[in-house]
């Protein structure tokens, strides 16, 4: 078991992957280090959100994912 990091929308292209597995626990610094420089740059922009275990974090820098959690990286949305 590990933390699964999911890349959504255009972040998937940047990451060249749908998801990666990272050993838990995973905090904000660990996430930035794990996703590579391009996604890391995006993640630090305010308009990119992070969800952990199905909840969007109000403060993504407070990330604290345990093994088994799914962490989703959510770029700006465009529906309809």
């Amino acid at each position: 078991m590990a933390v699964t990091v999911i890349f959504l929308g255009p972040l998937r292209d940047l990451a060249e992957s749908e998801s990666i597995e990272v050993a838990g626990p995973l905090n904000w610094e660990g996430l930035l280090a794990a996703v590579g420089p391009e996604v890391s740059d995006q993640l630090q922009q305010e308009r990119v959100n992070v969800a952990c275990a199905g909840e969007v974090l109000s403060d993504k820098t407070a990330l604290n994912a345990e093994d088994g959690d799914e962490v989703a990286l959510l770029p700006p949305v465009s529906g309809g």
Partner: protein, 147 residues
């Protein structure tokens, strides 16, 4: 009557709206918006992706907010995901109410939120190449009207 769905296959808005209207006896008016993949451009295909743990729950919250904000009898909110082609319906929101203002405003409210504040990501294919679409600045301005 509340019907919120994420669909992976093509759908027929008029059949859904017909059933929805019938399911809300006593209504004064029904307002419906149907969005389709435009076919007047050189877009060959459109793909909408979502994030299952968030997308449908957030549509449910949006429906709750619309019921709290407007005097509605019923709300239908259907959104496609997956790959679509020009002319295919993408989204259908229909609101039934005693008075027209609530029905029209609820559709307006839900569409603005689905466009710029729901967990969907859209990309389109032109000349064989996929490109991601961000909301237009108009979409953010429309959303800000409800803040």
């Amino acid at each position: 009557m509340r019907d919120v769905r994420l669909l992976t296959e093509a759908f027929d808005p008029s059949a859904l709206v017909g059933a929805f209207t019938t399911a809300n006896p006593g209504l004064g008016g029904v307002c419906t918006f149907v969005g389709e993949v435009r076919s007047d451009t050189d877009v060959e295909a459109l793909e909408l992706s979502h994030y299952a743990p968030l997308t449908l729950p957030s549509m449910g919250e949006l429906a709750d907010n619309a019921f709290a904000r407007f005097d509605l009898m019923g709300l239908l909110m259907i959104h496609r995901v997956g790959q679509m082609h020009p002319g295919d319906p993408i989204v259908c929101v229909s609101a039934a109410a005693r008075h027209r203002r609530a029905a029209i405003d609820a559709v307006d409210f839900c569409m603005d939120h689905l466009k710029a504040a729901a967990w969907f990501w859209k990309r389109e294919k032109r000349d064989g190449e996929w490109n991601w679409i961000e909301p237009r600045s108009d979409d953010y301005a429309d959303l800000a009207r409800w803040a």
